[in-house]
């Protein structure tokens, strides 16, 4: 029976895997090295590459000494945490709701929830811009006719909350779908045993469901954190980082510094290196969790 297994060696697997690995190496590792290189230089977009000036860690020093960048980091932290926590809390609560046995049509309801998360992310920002329009948008029309207020969702104090609302709208369904899958896979007997023992709803969630779902919860939290950090699509199309720098999270900072406003490719690269390092750390944690998860199976 070990006829095939006996022949399984690294050398013979090489031709199957090598093309993918070679291409991935070329399109990820090499550009990353190049990014590190440009982050050590002063370089402007549109200027010939030969005109670059080596500045060592100067770009990084400049970033860390700049109030704008510190503000961006704080905003990124706030935006990411707000999005992920809201998505998780709402998503988990909804998943508990949508897995009740006596809910008629729950299959269809869960299926329809996939619609928001599949809409092109950049376009989500675009259509919500219409809804947030302070004078004609549907949100303020409803708010002004019911409770008589019409906040300026485009304004610098509310814009970041507008972005959080769009991200939460688009991605909470993802958390719901993942948690519904996790909850449906739980052994019914454990939960029924808890019911027999007289555990109330909150005790069941706290002492049985949460511990059993811990790996999936960790994975979903990490995945969402990484995606909120690395995907600028929604904020880009909703506010473009504005007004001023009110919604300028790290990914938008890179865009505005490197390409859009000041064309400082070197400085933008340094900020990009920082984002890259953060996402590599988070990805490593995610991989640890997934690795230990697959060993437990």
């Amino acid at each position: 029976m070990n006829f095939i297994k006996s022949k399984l060696r690294a050398a013979s697997s090489f031709p199957w895997i090598a093309p993918s690995v070679a291409i991935l190496f070329t399109i990820t590792i090499l550009p990353t090295i190049f990014l590190f290189y440009t982050s050590l230089h002063r370089l402007r977009l549109g200027q010939p590459f030969e005109d670059r000036v080596f500045v060592g860690l100067g770009n990084f020093a400049r970033l860390l000494n700049s109030a704008d960048f510190i503000q961006t980091i704080q905003l990124t932290l706030f935006y990411t945490l707000a999005c992920v926590i809201l998505q998780f809390v709402i998503g988990f609560a909804l998943a508990l709701f949508f897995t009740q046995d006596d809910l008629v049509g729950r299959g269809t309801m869960v299926t329809l929830l996939v619609i928001p998360m599949s809409i092109t992310y950049a376009i989500s920002g675009l259509i919500w811009r219409l809804y947030f329009n302070p004078s004609h948008g549907i949100i303020n029309r409803i708010l002004s006719s019911t409770i008589g207020i019409s906040p300026n969702w485009y304004g610098s104090d509310l814009a970041i909350y507008s972005a959080i609302i769009v991200d939460v709208w688009q991605w909470t369904p993802f958390v719901v779908l993942v948690m519904v899958a996790g909850l449906s896979a739980l052994p019914k007997s454990t939960i029924e045993a808890a019911l027999v023992d007289g555990a109330n709803f909150f005790q069941r969630v706290r002492y049985i469901i949460l511990p059993l779902l811990k790996p999936i919860i960790l994975i979903v939290l990490l995945l969402r954190t990484i995606q909120v950090l690395i995907m600028p699509d929604i904020i880009f199309s909703l506010t473009e980082g504005g007004p001023g720098s009110a919604t300028e999270i790290l990914s938008l900072f890179i865009y505005r510094t490197g390409f859009h406003q000041t064309n400082r490719l070197g400085l933008g690269s340094a900020a990009a290196v920082i984002l890259l390092v953060i996402s590599i750390i988070l990805a490593q944690i995610l991989i640890r969790v997934m690795g230990s998860e697959s060993k437990n199976e």
Partner: protein
């Protein structure tokens, strides 16, 4: 409480929650069939629909071009992605070698590289080699997420096929490649189909590379947002129509392949 009353209340709450999440999508569809006056007037559930917004798009200068680019890039991504990922996924499922798990997880981690970070070197390298504003550079850069994603999806599909089937073919005198081609490929075809659909969804929706690496010739649909940036005018109808048409195919596929989508987005950690 009466049992059926409780059921009815739960159903209403559930439908209300789903309705709230879908409302922004359906309102966009509404707007796309409305005239300017209808959009800015009082909300009416029943109105005389107009196709003017769609006509404006089709006779306009960008929508059909962007659509064509999107279709070309998506088809290219599916073909190249599957050609590279299918053999690799097979090897990850069937061969054992030292460092296999590390290599697989390294590939997975590439899915989490921030596009906005690597787009700077892509832009510079693309300018050096003259690939900026081509469909090819999008197909290539989209491989950074399509290959990892496809390998991890397909690996699972290959692992689900019993090894004994392949062993039988080998005993009957097939070479490994013949066994792969005649036994494994047909069995994994549905999985390849699902993977292809998910490559379509991801490539169709991708924004950052499309925005920075193209200018006129290879613009894909998500970049149309730049047409409406800083936009305060009243062209809400055409904008809604463009948004609806651009999202329709992915929404359609996502609803049909919901479970596979969740499985893919969590790298198989959730079976959906």
């Amino acid at each position: 409480m009466n049992k059926s009353l409780k059921k009815a209340i739960k159903f209403i709450i559930g439908a209300g929650i789903v309705g709230a999440f879908l409302a922004p999508f359906f309102l966009m569809i509404f707007y796309s069939f409305q005239t300017r006056r209808q959009i800015f007037g009082d909300f009416e559930l029943f109105f005389t629909p107009t196709l003017d917004n769609y006509r404006e798009l089709i006779y306009g200068d960008f929508f059909l071009n962007n659509l064509q680019s999107s279709v070309i890039v998506v088809i290219g991504s599916v073909i190249v992605g599957l050609l590279l990922a299918v053999p690799a996924a097979y090897a990850f499922a069937r061969y054992n070698f030292r460092g296999k798990d590390d290599l697989a997880f390294w590939i997975l981690s590439l899915r989490m590289v921030p596009p906005i970070a690597v787009v700077i070197p892509y832009f510079l390298i693309g300018s050096f080699v003259g690939l900026i504003d081509t469909h090819i550079i999008l197909v290539i850069t989209f491989l950074t997420f399509n290959i990892p994603f496809a390998i991890w999806m397909l690996k699972g599909f290959f692992e689900d096929i019993p090894v004994s089937l392949e062993e039988q073919a080998r005993v009957d005198g097939c070479s490994r490649f013949q066994a792969f081609r005649k036994i494994m490929l047909p069995l994994v075809a549905p999985g390849m189909g699902a993977t292809a659909i998910l490559i379509v969804i991801q490539s169709w929706n991708h924004f950052v590379y499309a925005l920075f690496l193209t200018s006129t010739q290879a613009r894909t649909l998500p970049t149309m947002v730049t047409r409406f940036l800083g936009f305060t005018g009243v062209a809400w109808g055409p904008m809604a129509a463009a948004s609806f048409l651009a999202t329709l195919p992915v929404v359609f596929f996502a609803v049909i392949f919901r479970k596979k989508l969740i499985q893919g987005l969590t790298f198989g950690a959730v079976k959906g």
